[in-house]
Structures are given as structure tokens and as C-alpha cells.
């Protein structure tokens, strides 16, 4: 790049135009780009201001304090049609997080099962897993959402003759109703016991690992942890007189009363995102396991480590290193795909924002909010996964 450094002196060099100086040309191109960009932004800004004035829309975020005046189907936080637009957006944001969180967990579970299934020695299982992956990978997620929403849940029976599943779960075209746990007084002791158990398990696990590192003695960790985290709270729960009851849904004439209801919008979005993303996660998991060279597990077998332990201690830790980076991008994809909620009217951030946009015409503000929120979600997820990845990464000397 730098011609000057190789030329012995400036004297015997032929004179040349400044236009041929790579450094100057670099500045020139960048300056031109900035000029063009600024000009373009200026032109867009002028037009926008003019258009907004003509449409009588005041720019700025003041509208967020206005009364929303619309209802949302499902909300985890207090909301009514008298709440503000800002509150409505918050409801949408919480709903986005909810469906993304549930979807990520389910998709990970299904994806790992299917991905391991594809590598199974069992022919039938491997083929079934392959069919699952090839099926869901090649259809649009939006179509899967509609399949659940208008194909399956919408043709479920009316609420008064809802399908009854075990444990008092009812399925109707209004969603799934299930018993809602009612916490009475003294439930908190069970909770405290659980927290204490968790803390104790953490320290025991640390102690066990340290002891194993030093002496090679193993510790029955799993039974201990299960006992501490489930057994002890259970004993406390029974001792305090079982302070938990269930509000069971009852089929009324027009609707189910009591219990908790999950609407068909959430269900179809959740199911579709989970099944769709799981097919991608399955492929990532498969690639990860195949990416661990066979010599690793053969060496483990040669050392006399049992197959189960080989998988847990040799294959999976190495496979995770390959799996985590693409897994992160799948989680992000799922979160972004949750914006398809707008197609079926699940009140996520985009759907609520779209309603507000139609009501107020504050297009720029709403789109800016969307961009900021999704970028924040993306960046924080990738930061977290990078940290996790750094922890898992191979420490090379």
C-alpha cells in the first residue's frame, strides 16, 4: 500500500499527480461517501418533515403518554385500554420475551433430542429424526404458525364441549385451560427450603469437584442435589400442611371458568417457533457431535471409560464448543421470528407497535423503538453467549 516507504528518496521520483496517491484517494473516497450520505439524509429529513407537517403529525415521543384505547389479548403486567401507549408497548415487549423464552427452552430440548436421534444407531429413530428435520426446515415458519392457528386450534370444539385431557386440562378453540396453582400462606417456607437447597447444592458441587480433582474420589452428586432441591422442599411442604390448592377449570355453558387459560395465539406461535427452530438446532447438534473426531471417543474407550461417561465427559464438552456459536444465532432467529405474532394477533412488540402506528401515524418513532429493542436483545444475547463461549472454549497453551 505505502509506496513511499520503499522509494529511497523523494528527489529521483518522477512527479505524480496527487490523485494517484493512495492515501489521498482514500480520504477522497471517504469524504465523497460522507458527503453523499449526509446529502441523502438531509434530503430524506427535509421530505419527512414536510410530509409530517402536511399529515399533521407531531414528531417526538410525547405520544407515548397518550391513552391507548385498545385491549390486548394477553398481558403479564397490569394493563387496560385506559393505559398509556408506553404501557402497551411494555406489554408487547414482555409478551415478546415470554414467547421467545418459552420457545427457546422447548426448541432446545426438541432440537437436542432430534439431533442426537439423527446419529442414533437405531435405523428407525435416525430416519424419523431425519424426516422431522427435512420437513420443518423447508417450510416457512409463518405457514407453521397458520397451520396451528387456523388449521388445528381454530377447529377445536367450542368451550362448552372442550376436549378433556388428564390432570383437568381442557383444549378448546379458545386455547388450553389448565388448573391454576393457588398459593396459600406458609407456601413461602417451601420456597425458602428450595432456595436453601439450591445454595447448599452449589457449594457441595464445588466441594465435590475440588475433592475429585485432588484425591480422585467421586461423590454421589446427583442424588444429593435431587434430595436437597426436591426432597427437602417436599418435606417442608408436607410439614407445613400442604398449603397449595388448584383452581380447576370448569366447562360452563359458553366458556370455561376458573383455572388459567393460554390463548390460541400464544400457543400456535410458541408451538410453531419451537418446532421450526428445533429442526435447525438438531442440525447444529448433529454437526457438533460429528465434529468431535472419532479418536476422542476411541481413546476414552481404550482408557476403559464407560460409553455413558465417554459421551458426558469427552464428547459433549467438545461438541458444545462447536455448537454454541450457531446455537446463539438460532436463539436470535427465534426471538426475531416471534415478530410473526402480528399475523395471528398475538400482542407482541411488533403487533402492539403496528396498532399504535395505525392509530397515531408515528411511524418513525415506532420503528425506532422496534430497532432499538431488537438490537438490544440481539446484542445482549450475543454478549451473554460470547461470555459462555469463552468459558467453554478450549484453553490452548
Amino acid at each position: 500500500m505505502t509506496v513511499d516507504a520503499t522509494t529511497p528518496s523523494g528527489k529521483d521520483r518522477p512527479t505524480r499527480s496527487i490523485l494517484n496517491d493512495p492515501k489521498f484517494r482514500g480520504y477522497l473516497y471517504q469524504g465523497l461517501t460522507i458527503l453523499l450520505l449526509v446529502g441523502f439524509v438531509y434530503w430524506v429529513a427535509i421530505n419527512t418533515i414536510e410530509n409530517l407537517q402536511r399529515a399533521n403529525i407531531a414528531s417526538g415521543y410525547g405520544f407515548l403518554n397518550g391513552r391507548a384505547g385498545f385491549d390486548v389479548g394477553q398481558s403479564l403486567i397490569q394493563y387496560s385500554s385506559d393505559s398509556t401507549y408506553g404501557r402497551a408497548l411494555l406489554v408487547g415487549f414482555v409478551n415478546t420475551l415470554l414467547v421467545a423464552f418459552c420457545g427457546i427452552i422447548t426448541a432446545t430440548i426438541i432440537g437436542f433430542l432430534v439431533g442426537i436421534g439423527r446419529l442414533s444407531h437405531n435405523w428407525l429413530i435416525a430416519k424419523l429424526a431425519m424426516i422431522y428435520v427435512e420437513f420443518f426446515r423447508n417450510i416457512p415458519p409463518l405457514l407453521v404458525i397458520f397451520f396451528w392457528y387456523s388449521g388445528v386450534l381454530a377447529v377445536m370444539p367450542q368451550a362448552r364441549d372442550a376436549l378433556e385431557l388428564p390432570f383437568d386440562i381442557y383444549v378448546s378453540n379458545r386455547g388450553v385451560a389448565f388448573p391454576r396453582p393457588v398459593f396459600e400462606s406458609m407456601t413461602q417456607f417451601t420456597f425458602y427450603a428450595f432456595v436453601l437447597g439450591a445454595i447448599a447444592s452449589f457449594f457441595i458441587a464445588r466441594f465435590a469437584r475440588k475433592r475429585q480433582m485432588e484425591t480422585g474420589q467421586t461423590f454421589p452428586l446427583l442424588p444429593t442435589v435431587l434430595g436437597l432441591m426436591i426432597g427437602v422442599p417436599l418435606v417442608v411442604f408436607l410439614l407445613t400442611g400442604r398449603p397449595l390448592s388448584f383452581d380447576i377449570p370448569i366447562a360452563g355453558r359458553f366458556n370455561l371458568t376458573g383455572g388459567s387459560v393460554v390463548g390460541p395465539e400464544f400457543l400456535s406461535l410458541f408451538l410453531a417457533l419451537s418446532f421450526y427452530t428445533a429442526s435447525f438446532i438438531a442440525e447444529i447438534v448433529r454437526a457438533g457431535i460429528l465434529g468431535v473426531s472419532k479418536g476422542q471417543s476411541e481413546a476414552a474407550h481404550a482408557l476403559g471409560i464407560r460409553p455413558g461417561l465417554t459421551t458426558r465427559l469427552v464428547v459433549i464438552p467438545q461438541a458444545m464448543r462447536i455448537v454454541i456459536p450457531p446455537l446463539t444465532s438460532q436463539y436470535l432467529n427465534l426471538t426475531k421470528n416471534s415478530s410473526l405474532a402480528i399475523a395471528i394477533g398475538y400482542a407482541d412488540l411488533v403487533a402492539v407497535g403496528g396498532t399504535i402506528l395505525n392509530q397515531t401515524g408515528q411511524a418513525i418513532e415506532i420503528v425506532t423503538i422496534w430497532i432499538i429493542v431488537y438490537l438490544t436483545l440481539s446484542l445482549s444475547t450475543s454478549l451473554f453467549m460470547n461470555w459462555f463461549n469463552a468459558r467453554m472454549a478450549l484453553v490452548e497453551r
Partner: protein, 385 residues
């Protein structure tokens, strides 16, 4: 040497033994691949039970009980729902798909003008097939025809209004035609833009690098639906009064923007895989930046990422279904529009239409992913030792 003297050599042959049991045939295969261990056996039996539970009802629903012919909702509804099927009937309503098939392909494009999309489609296939076959020569001419000449020709022919062709407004376009146009234009635009963005992101000039990085990261960080909203709601705000952009064009712009950012990352992966010595070699020969890129770096980088490009295309193809949310009638949109046709409304109509749409999407995407795998194997050969 005297053979008699060698006492340790056997003189007579052993009798032929029967083949070892369970080494060949179906039984042995099943024992090896399905019932090798008790755990395997349990899994096999569970999987088999699930198959028995799911497949026969599915086949019955899809083929045996389905109504294949008929002129209205009667064939797809039970007596109680106002149709002719017996009580408790449920099956695919393929008569609905058959009756609406033309619409699913072309939307509301005028019937007497449908030869135009058909002609474009035929030309597209005629140009695409030699493009996809690695052995056919003249790839550059083929690419120019496919990615530059064909879109212009298709634009003129489909829109009409010149050469005595009846104008057909874009709101009338629909169905698979729109899905294909959107994804094809998306890919044709995103390839050059993606290359420019990827080069920009690796540029030595900080301002250009920053602009490209910000663009790529923002577009990749937000969902496509917000990009489409931006294109459909904000674009009219950005333009001076009186200058309007067609809704179809807005969707095209949105999809192309989105695809460009993803394409840029795929291509950047390819650029990073090229050893530094290649660029240094080009520099030492005195090639200019564009010569270096055009003749040395990009041909190698693009060849490396063909599978990635096809994967981006598959994603784009699936993502075009989102334009139905902003009120356009692509394949999914037109199928959903027809749910509200009172002539065909029945409980099984939506699911039948969706299964048809899903099947169509699946065929396209599966074909593309197979092709991507084929190219991957083909290109891999050069690197195997």
C-alpha cells in the same frame, strides 16, 4: 518338492458349511439396526407405535377420505355443516385446491393475460437449468441473461402498458408468481449489493467500513417484518410529495435490503477464507484494487460460498411469505385470502389450503437444499487430499 512329504497339509476339503445364522437378510438387518440392545428395542417399539398411531390416520385423511372433486363447499362439509359428507367426516379438501389452483399460481392476474407469466416462467426455467448444471459452458452469458436481461424482460412483459400489451397493475399480481418474483429479485439484487457491502466491511477506509458494518448489523439484528414495515410505512414519508412508490416495489426494496445484509455476511465468510498470499500476490503484480478483487479474490471466494448463497436463498424464499402480513398476496397470502370464500368455507378448507402451500414451499426449498448439498460435494473434491 514332493507333495507326499508335507504331512501337515490337509489332503481333502472340508464339507461346505451352512451360512452363519442371522448375518444376511431382513432379520439380521433388523437385529443389527433396530434391536441391537434392549434400549434400542424399547426405542424401536415406541417409535413404531407412534408411527402406527400417526401414519394410517394421516394417509386416511390425506388420500382415502379426502374429497378430490366437486364444485363447492358441499363436498368438504358434513351434513350438519350443510354439506354432503356423513357425520364425523374429516378429510383433505383437495377439490378446493383444484378449483383455486390457477389463483394460487397467478393471483388475480387477468385470465386472458396469463400467457405472460407462463412465458416468463418458461424462459426462467430454460435459463436456470443450464445455469445450475456445472458442466454447461458460457456461464457468464447465461448469468447476464438470467440476472439482468430476464428481469427487465419480465418487468416489461408482466406489467404491460407498452407494445400494445394490456397494463396489469401490481395489486393484481399474486400467488406463487409473486413469491418467485420477490425471491428471485431479492437474490439478483442482494448478490451485487452483498459483495459491495462485504468488501466495504473489509475495506481499509474506516468511514466506509463503519457505514457497511452498521448497515449490516442493524438489518441483521431486526426481524424482516420490521424491515417490511419500514419499507411500506416509512418509504412514502421519506420521498417528496407526489412521488409514490408502488406497494410491490416497496416490498421488493425491503426484501432486497434484508437479503443484502445476510448475503454480505456469507460473502465475507468466503473472503476471509482466502489466504492472504493471494491478495499479496495480486498486489505484487501491480493489479489495482478492482482488478485484484475481480480476477483473484472474488472468483475464489464466491466459489467457496455457493452453498451458503443457496442457503441464504432458501431463507429468503421462505421469508417472502411475510409480505402477506403487509397486505400482499403471495402464495400464502392468496391461500389465506381464499379461506374467506363463502363458496368453499368449511372446517377442513384452511388446513387443506395450508397443506398445499406448505407442500409447494417444501418442494422448492428441499430441491434447493439438495442442490446446495450437491454443489458442496462437487466443490469439495478440489480440497480433498
Amino acid at each position: 518338492m514332493n507333495a507326499e512329504a508335507i504331512n501337515f497339509v490337509r489332503r481333502d476339503m472340508l464339507a461346505q458349511e451352512p451360512p452363519p445364522g442371522l448375518q444376511k437378510g431382513l432379520g439380521a438387518w433388523m437385529k443389527k439396526n433396530m434391536f441391537a440392545t434392549p434400549k434400542d428395542s424399547v426405542l424401536t417399539i415406541i417409535a413404531f407405535l407412534i408411527l402406527v398411531w400417526m401414519v394410517p390416520p394421516a394417509v386416511k385423511w390425506l388420500f382415502i377420505d379426502a374429497s378430490w372433486t366437486g364444485g363447492g363447499r358441499g363436498v368438504c362439509a358434513t351434513v350438519a355443516q350443510g354439506g354432503s359428507q356423513p357425520e364425523g367426516w374429516s378429510g383433505g379438501c383437495w377439490a378446493f385446491v383444484g378449483a383455486k389452483f390457477d389463483q394460487f399460481l397467478f393471483g388475480r392476474y387477468p385470465v386472458e393475460e396469463r400467457w405472460r407469466p407462463i412465458l416468463v416462467g418458461a424462459l426462467f426455467i430454460a435459463l436456470l437449468i443450464p445455469m445450475l448444471m456445472p458442466k454447461v459452458p458460457h456461464k457468464i452469458i447465461n448469468a447476464i441473461l438470467l440476472f439482468i436481461a430476464l428481469p427487465i424482460f419480465a418487468f416489461v412483459l408482466l406489467l404491460g402498458g407498452v407494445f400494445g400489451l394490456v397494463p396489469v397493475e401490481t395489486p393484481l399480481w399474486g400467488g406463487l408468481m409473486v413469491t418467485l418474483i420477490l425471491s428471485f429479485v431479492g437474490i439478483a439484487v442482494s448478490l451485487p449489493f452483498g459483495i459491495v457491502l462485504a468488501l466495504g466491511r473489509r475495506s481499509q477506509m474506516p468511514v466506509i467500513r463503519m457505514i457497511c458494518t452498521i448497515f449490516i448489523e442493524i438489518v441483521r439484528g431486526i426481524p424482516l417484518i420490521t424491515v417490511l414495515f419500514m419499507a411500506s410505512v416509512m418509504l412514502p414519508l421519506f420521498l417528496p410529495q407526489g412521488m409514490t412508490v408502488d406497494k410491490f416495489l416497496r416490498a421488493l426494496i425491503g426484501v432486497s435490503f434484508f437479503a443484502s445484509a445476510y448475503m454480505a455476511e456469507v460473502i465475507r465468510g468466503g473472503l476471509q477464507a482466502i489466504p492472504k498470499g493471494q491478495a499479496e500476490g495480486a498486489d505484487s503484480l501491480g493489479l489495482s484494487y478492482w482488478h485484484k478483487m475481480n480476477l483473484i479474490i472474488l472468483p475464489q471466494a464466491l466459489k467457496l460460498v455457493i452453498p451458503g448463497i443457496v442457503n441464504t436463498f432458501i431463507g429468503l424464499f421462505k421469508d417472502t411469505s411475510l409480505v402477506s402480513i403487509i397486505g400482499m398476496f403471495d402464495l400464502l397470502g392468496i391461500v389465506r385470502l381464499n379461506f374467506s370464500d363463502s363458496n368453499w368455507a368449511s372446517p377442513v378448507t384452511p388446513i387443506s389450503g395450508l397443506i398445499f402451500a406448505g407442500f409447494t414451499f417444501w418442494i422448492f426449498c428441499f430441491g434447493m437444499s439438495r442442490y446446495s448439498g450437491f454443489m458442496e460435494r462437487l466443490l469439495d473434491k478440489g480440497h480433498k487430499r
